[in-house]
């Protein structure tokens, strides 16, 4: 394997891992507050279709990404209204959000399938991008990848050193205790769900505006579910989410590696790899029941009703 190939694989690994990283970070914040939102796919697809249409109509990528995030937030608040407002089952409602979002996005986007669009350009940082092997991977990416680096750093700090981060964790661990000392449990949860929605929408926009600049039905291809598994894999820790996202990015582009090494394997079989990897990772992380329970936010998925 020559140097160029390694450089390109690392570059593609970051690009492929970025949407997973963004979704998983958003979902992690949501889960830290005690809410399990299985509707990631629905929010991603709505973000992807909204961003694509807005960019196509206005010509502005900035507005596209903005609308992608807005679409994610709106979808997430639909989920929040039903689970937090009406105390409905979070698992079933999350599934409903996925089914609804998949249908609605396909409906809205039906007229836009296959239309060409000028995708997001890469920003090459001079000098730094010339560093061998890692230069291209870290310093010749598009704006959203740089944004995801910033997002990671911000969340790392948020949960490690900020007071608000502590509140989110308290609400997720024990909402009754948090409520008793006057923390705004419900508001925190609504905001955490909204943040998760914004991130899923952003990742959706990344898919339809940068990663593969086009709209296709169901283009998220299970990334939302993989990101959910990633959060489990990461034991709800920010730095492990980063690691996991890029590992999954690598698993998704193994066909490039195989080609580079001169193997010929059916692309359909290789397409299974990220999903197989997800199952393996879940098995690895869940084996020890008491250990996996220790890391999960205590009240994850449980409804909170004042006075209950």
């Amino acid at each position: 394997m020559d140097m160029d190939l390694i450089t390109n694989i690392l570059y593609a690994m970051i690009r492929t891992g970025t949407p997973l990283l963004i979704i998983a970070l958003g979902e992690m914040v949501c889960e830290k507050s005690g809410v399990l939102n299985l509707g990631q796919e629905g929010m991603i697809l709505m973000g992807a279709v909204a961003g694509f249409i807005v960019t196509l109509l206005t010509g502005s990528l900035f507005f596209g990404f903005l609308m992608a995030m807005a679409a994610g937030v709106i979808m997430s608040q639909l989920f929040a209204m039903i689970t937090l407002g009406l105390n409905a089952n979070q698992v079933a409602t999350g599934l409903a959000l996925t089914i609804f979002g998949t249908g609605l996005s396909a409906f809205i986007g039906a007229d836009f399938v296959g239309q060409p669009i000028q995708g997001l350009d890469v920003i090459v940082i001079p000098l730094l991008s010339d560093i061998p092997v890692i230069g291209k991977m870290l310093f010749a990416q598009d704006a959203i990848v740089y944004l995801s680096f910033g997002l990671f750093t911000a969340l790392y700090w948020f949960f490690r050193s900020s007071r608000t981060g502590l509140i989110v964790k308290a609400v997720g661990e024990n909402p009754h205790a948090a409520n008793a000392i006057g923390l705004p449990v419900m508001r925190t949860r609504y905001l955490a769900v909204a943040f998760g929605g914004a991130m899923a929408g952003l990742a959706g926009g990344y898919l339809s505006l940068a990663y593969t600049p086009m709209w296709a039905e169901n283009m998220s291809a299970g990334r939302g579910w993989i990101a959910l598994a990633l959060v489990v894999f990461a034991s709800w820790r920010t730095e492990r989410v980063l690691l996991g996202a890029y590992l999954f990015g690598l698993a998704s582009i193994l066909h490039l590696v195989a080609q580079g090494l001169g193997f010929s394997v059916s692309p359909n079989l290789l397409a299974m790899l990220p999903y197989v990897a997800t199952v393996l990772v879940l098995v690895m992380m869940s084996r020890n029941q008491s250990r996996s329970k220790m890391f999960a936010p205590m009240s994850l998925g449980k409804p909170f009703h004042v006075g209950s």
């Binding site: 599934l95 609605l104 579910w225 993989i226 199952v279």
Partner: protein, 363 residues
């Protein structure tokens, strides 16, 4: 606060039955508004979607064709969901069932005999059942969350199916289309009504409804399943083997989904193609909830879901709507159902009204 939730203390049986009805009405109203915004006459559009497809005998037989796989998947899900095991993998189990049945059928095209069809169906059930047992094994031995594993197995099954029709199962005389050879006559399900596509699959589905009804309401296993679902620790305390129950329920639901897949390839399709299912396995989840996990409820909910599938196709032809309208209606229905289900456990009070008017009149 716009409204307040007040716990009822005990669950309202009446609301449990009214909630699907309410959700259906709300879906109709929202759908009507949606059509109106699209520039269609809402009443005409709804009639086109929900009445025109079944306004003649042929339409009714087509309804049976579409109901069969949905009902088979959903009735199986009723069993697992009762045990609070969240098998979201009916879609993948259906695909693996269709794939396994096809793998056998294309290798015995020239063979005749009455045992061919039962074998093909049985292999289909085996394919779906084993695929579900994989998730059961991962759950009971490695504690892996079955929601995520079954969904991943759906994607793996789909890719495996696509690989198969491009590779080992591709028709050697098929001009390189990603399709298998047509099955031999002995492997095809008999047609029930001459001149239509309605095949014996609907009979399997109705039979499954009866069997599951007996299983859940009249058998000891069914009792154990229900206890496990209501209170896992109580089930363990009573000495029920919870892991075994997970395996049994997953096997039943996977085998029925596999039978649905086998019924599709040996029924209306007659061969293996990449698109066996337009999401029947996912629609079955909605059907199971809508039917309150009760066999009779699921029967009616399956008919409705099949109608929505046909309505989507009709809206595409008559109203020039995207086919995705099917998914949109399915999603709305489930959303409204979950929102209405809150009325089972809670009363809704509107403090700003000043009176203590409860939103429900169903008490």
């Amino acid at each position: 606060m716009l409204f307040k939730l007040e716990p009822r203390g005990e669950h309202s049986k009446a609301m449990a039955y009214l909630s699907p009805l309410l959700a259906g009405i709300l879906t109709l109203i929202t759908g009507g508004i949606f059509f109106y915004l699209q520039g269609n006459d809402p009443l005409y559009a709804l009639k086109t979607m929900l009445y025109t497809p079944i306004s003649d005998v042929y339409g009714l037989t087509e309804l049976c064709v579409k109901t069969a796989p949905i009902l088979l998947c959903a009735i199986g899900l009723a069993v697992v969901f009762k045990a609070q095991v969240w098998n979201i993998g009916a879609e993948g189990q259906l695909l693996m069932g269709g794939l396994a049945a096809s793998a056998l059928a294309v290798n015995i095209i020239d063979i005749e005999g009455v045992w061919v069809l039962p074998m093909v169906m049985l292999v289909g059930m085996l394919g779906g059942g084993l695929w579900a047992l994989l998730a059961a094994w991962l759950k009971t031995h490695f504690n892996a969350n079955e929601i995520l594993t079954t969904i991943m197995l759906n994607y793996i099954a789909l890719n495996f199916l696509i690989y198969s029709v491009h590779g080992p199962l591709k028709d050697p005389h098929g001009y390189n289309f990603p399709e298998s050879a047509m099955f031999g006559d002995a492997a095809l399900l008999p047609i029930l009504v001459e001149g239509t596509r309605v095949h014996a699959g609907i009979l399997f589905a109705l039979f499954a409804v009866v069997v599951v009804w007996v299983l859940l309401s009249r058998s000891f296993i069914g009792f154990q399943i229900k206890v496990l679902g209501l209170d896992a620790s109580a089930a363990r305390f009573a000495g029920f083997k919870d892991k075994k129950l997970v395996w049994i329920t997953m096997l039943i639901s996977g085998a029925l989904a596999g039978l649905a897949g086998a019924g599709e390839v040996a029924g209306p399709l007659g061969q293996l193609v990449p698109q066996i299912s337009p999401g029947y396995g996912y629609a079955a989840i909605i059907v199971a909830f809508l039917g309150r996990l009760h066999p009779i409820g699921i029967l009616f909910a399956s008919l409705l879901m099949a109608l929505i599938y046909m309505g989507g196709e009709m809206a595409q032809i008559m109203l020039n709507m995207p086919l995705a309208i099917t998914g949109l209606f399915q999603g709305m229905l489930l959303f409204y159902l979950l929102a209405c289900d809150v009325l089972i456990g809670y009363k809704i009070k509107f403090p700003w009204l000043g009176t203590k008017a409860a939103a429900s009149s169903a008490e």
